[in-house]
Amino acid sequence: MKTEESLMYMRNWILFLTIALTTCVDGADTPELGQPASEADIEQVFWSVFPDGENLPAGSGLAVDGKALFNIYCIACHGIEGAGLTAVALVGGQGSLATDTPLKTIGSYRPYAPTIFKYIRRSMPYIAPMSLSNDDYYAVTAYLLELNGILEPGSVVNAETLPKVRMPNRDGFVNAYPKVPRKYDY
């Protein structure tokens, strides 16, 4: 084949492939009505925080401030020092999981500190979620982690430190997807 000819041959192939690909991608089988989502659109709806701290906001807090906030905004449901009242206990239960009276709290059960913060920040106080500042949410998280004996008194809690907190039940979970492990099957 002459160079010119082979070039043309290649060009035709590229044209053919491009058409084939664009028909696939543009999938004429749906109207494709999705609008480009802006950073602001994403920020508005995306609150999840990952165990490594991805998506933690700026700000920081101390347990002393957290205690004051807790006693105003949380105590009515979660009780004195998070002992539980009309809503679940947030303190205690370490060492109870394998006993006949297990107590699952954020201190005894939950494996990652950043995702505890995420839930408090996005969902609490129950009757008025997202009503405090990021600093406030870091502070109540610090208070709850100190109450559980997981943080030293006076620890600064923020996007840097929270992912480094080692939760007591960090290794307490077994993946059951797609199958429940044999050990727990009948």
């Binding site: 709806v45 999840s48 990952f50 009309t86 699952k104 059960y109 129950y126 979970f173 993946n175």
Partner: protein, 426 residues
């Protein structure tokens, strides 16, 4: 005759809406001067008929409701007086239902943070993260996509949670099996929308977040999302109800109900799960060794006899009764349901009501002659993968009694010599 009926009965007399001039005369006659006279005779021919035969009934309602003589409603779990009052658990009353499709108003609900009142014009779904094109879909735009319709059951993994307790509870079937319902769901395939956004090779999970006040969030494996998950917009032919996620919910067939995130507004494509509260606190199953099963997403094979069930009384001895119930599995179709009347010593295969659909409630029936002596009624299901529903002892031996979720053992009803039915462990 009402004015409306009159108008309908009169042919137009000219184009564009002109009607017979007698219309007004007739209306006047109907509404006015004593034209309607009800006879009051001493001995009318209908004197022995019930009242509802002796006068025309009411007109139709815009949205129909059950007869005022029917009181079948969902059982609402009592809430703490302060704090958790907006949480809602509503249980389907299977003791009074006979179908496989649950009426929408009786579908179960678990609302961790109440039911949001969402304006569909202000709601949209954003797909973002590891995608080529982050996209935003309005509710209206999804109506223009090719629709997909599936009949599926939905079950909360906390369904039958009360049956882990040491003593059998004396409660109606709604309380023991009511976090289970079946519907026809219509919406848009999730893969279609993900393809439009262009999922990148590293995208292995999707974090779904709801627009409720607590933002219920779950991590969904990408293989599931691309396989058969969909965005449900309609339930039993009408728009989703607020308690079912109006205006849109995720639906993951065969997965524990909590993953089918209601009021869906955000899908983040990622390379790892987010370890949300609802997959590290709730919806994890504590095992006897202190470890907990996580991402126990698939619902297991299960069945229960719905009639007779707790607190009913068989009216007559030495009579043939129908034993009927529901069977379901998150892994596909029900292959077989067996019924025992002697506490599991012997089993007989029940008739399955067709069509038997994958990941849908399947009704079974078997005639049973009750001779008047005490008996234990049980059912056990086998799904198309060959998985057989375990006995209570098998389940507890393997998983202890603090798992809280995914209770799916064989359920037992005792029949006493008076025909009374009660819940027992057998």
């Amino acid at each position: 005759m009402s004015e409306r009926d009159l108008m309908d009965s009169l042919p137009p007399v000219a184009a564009n809406g002109l009607l017979d001039r007698r219309l007004f005369m007739k209306s006047i006659a109907a509404g006015g001067v004593g034209a309607l006279t009800v006879p009051v005779l001493a001995d009318p021919v209908g004197k022995d008929q019930p009242s509802w035969l002796l006068a025309p009934g009411q007109g139709a309602q815009g949205y129909g409701t059950p007869s005022r003589h029917e009181q079948l409603v969902r059982w609402i779990k009592p809430q703490w007086p302060l704090g958790a009052t907006i949480q809602g658990l509503a249980f389907t009353p299977h003791q009074g239902l006979t179908g496989t499709y649950t009426p929408s108003g009786l579908h179960f609900e678990v609302n961790h943070h109440g039911i949001p009142d969402i304006d569909p014009n202000l709601h949209s779904l954003v797909i973002h993260g590891m995608v080529d094109r982050p996209l935003k879909f309005t509710v209206e735009s999804l109506d223009y996509y090719p629709t997909l319709t599936r009949s599926h059951f939905l079950e909360c993994s906390g369904n039958s949670g009360a049956l882990w307790a040491d003593e059998p509870i004396d409660a109606l079937l709604d309380q023991t099996h009511g976090l289970l319902s079946g519907s026809e769901w219509t919406g848009v395939s999730l893969a279609t929308l993900l393809d439009e956004a262009g999922v990148q090779a590293e995208g292995k999970w999707i974090i779904a977040e709801g627009a409720d006040s607590g933002s219920l969030s779950r991590s969904i494996p990408m293989e599931k999302a691309m396989d058969d998950s969909f965005i449900a917009l309609y339930q039993n032919g009408e728009r989703l109800r607020p308690g079912q996620g109006y205006p849109m919910r995720l639906f993951n067939p065969g997965f524990e109900g909590n993953t089918s995130v209601k009021w869906l507004r955000s899908l983040r494509v990622t390379d790892r799960p987010a370890m949300t509260k609802f997959e590290t606190a709730n919806y994890t199953d504590l095992m006897p060794d202190g470890k907990a099963l996580q991402f126990s997403l698939k619902l297991e094979v299960k069945s229960v006899i719905t009639r007779p069930s707790n607190a009913t009384v068989l009216p007559k001895k030495n009579a043939v009764y129908e034993v009927t119930g529901l069977a379901w599995s998150g892994s596909g179709r029900i292959r077989k349901v067996e019924v025992s009347a002697d506490g599991g010593a012997t089993w007989a295969e029940a008739e399955l009501q067709g069509p038997v659909l994958p990941i849908m409630l399947t009704r079974f029936r078997l005639p049973w002659r009750w001779d008047g002596s005490p008996a234990i009624l049980q059912s056990r299901a086998t799904d198309e993968t060959g998985r057989l529903q375990p006995t209570r002892t098998q389940l507890l031996d393997a998983r202890g009694k603090h798992g809280h979720y995914h209770y799916h053992a064989i359920h037992s009803w005792s029949v006493d010599e008076n025909g009374g039915i009660a819940h027992v462990y057998a």
